[in-house]
């Protein structure tokens, strides 16, 4: 985490330096993002020498981010289809998702991501913090187990790989 903050600051400084020094640099957002990404990538590659853990985690963070975006868009298209067509295809249910995540950060990340993705809305955490109650829109009786497995493999595994 510390390495990330330091790298972030250095890359941001590189951007301001590039704006000031280089005369080919026009002040457009695309250029800024490009310079930032190049600086950040070089710093990330250099971290293999002094922070192996950080070197391994950044690709996982990116993976989680793109997976999250994909799921967000898929969930929206699914619900949009259900709302526009006259019949309901929904079969809502509240399930208890067994949690492997234990700290506050992990649980809240997982709950928030689930709220934004595949037709699910997190309701509450059980008192012993072993289960997360999730309201699902599309949960046929025979599919509940496979949906639970999907949520656990999709989100929880990725989050735990980053935080642990």
């Amino acid at each position: 985490m510390n390495t990330f903050l330091i790298h972030f600051a250095i890359a941001a400084y590189a951007v301001t330096w590039a704006i000031g020094k280089l005369n080919w640099f026009d002040d457009s957002a695309a250029m800024t993002i490009l310079v930032f990404l190049v600086a950040f990538t070089f710093l990330w590659l250099s971290s293999i020498l002094y922070d192996r853990n950080y070197f391994r985690k950044i690709p996982k963070v990116l993976g989680l981010f793109f997976f999250f975006l994909k799921e967000l868009i898929m969930a929206n298209l699914k619900i949009a289809y259900d709302i526009i067509t006259p019949r309901y295809f929904m079969n809502p249910s509240i399930i208890a998702l067994p949690l492997k995540a234990s700290t506050d950060l992990e649980i809240s990340l997982l709950a928030n991501m689930l709220t934004l993705t595949p037709g699910s809305l997190s309701v509450d955490v059980s008192e012993d913090r072993k289960e997360l109650y999730v309201h699902l829109l599309y949960a046929d009786d025979e599919k509940v187990e496979s949906i639970k497995k999907e949520l656990k493999d999709g989100f929880e595994k990725r989050i735990l790989a980053i935080t642990r």
Binding site: S93, V123, S126
Partner: protein, 135 residues
């Protein structure tokens, strides 16, 4: 061939904004026609977050300016953090207040929780009565 970059930029940004508006529209129709509180909540959080995000990104592509880009990143970051928390808080309050669920909803795995809630409530009421007697 000469490609007009301004034109391409405008097309991309309008595509983003139109997609965002579409998702927002669908979410608000959903708010009117879905059967119960929880499914509505589900539709509106996802739709509003994605729709707002896409509209804002479209604006960013159109202006293509560093300062505006930074503001837009901040907006995206804070909406992504706050909107699910708000949805979660509202849903939990609804469960506490016993807002009715749709009749088709499957509550098999939720029974435990509801019963516990019920017990807790009785305990709290007992406590309150004792307190009022003491006073």
């Amino acid at each position: 061939m000469d490609i007009d970059l301004e034109f391409v930029k405008e097309i991309i940004s309008s595509a983003f904004i139109l997609a965002g508006v579409f998702f927002m529209l669908v979410a608000s129709i959903g708010l009117l026609r879905l059967p119960d509180f929880y499914t509505r909540m589900s539709a509106i959080t996802k739709g509003a977050t994605l729709g707002m995000g896409m509209i804002v990104i479209g604006i960013g592509v159109y202006f293509n300016d560093t300062e505006i880009m930074l503001k837009i990143l901040a907006i995206l970051f804070f909406t992504l953090i706050t909107s699910p928390v708000a949805a979660h808080a509202i849903t939990r309050t609804a469960i506490y207040k016993k807002v009715p669920l749709w009749k088709k909803t499957d509550l098999k795995e939720f029974q435990n929780y509801l019963q516990k809630r019920e017990l807790d409530k009785d305990e709290v009421e007992d406590q309150l009565q004792k307190n009022s007697k003491r006073l």
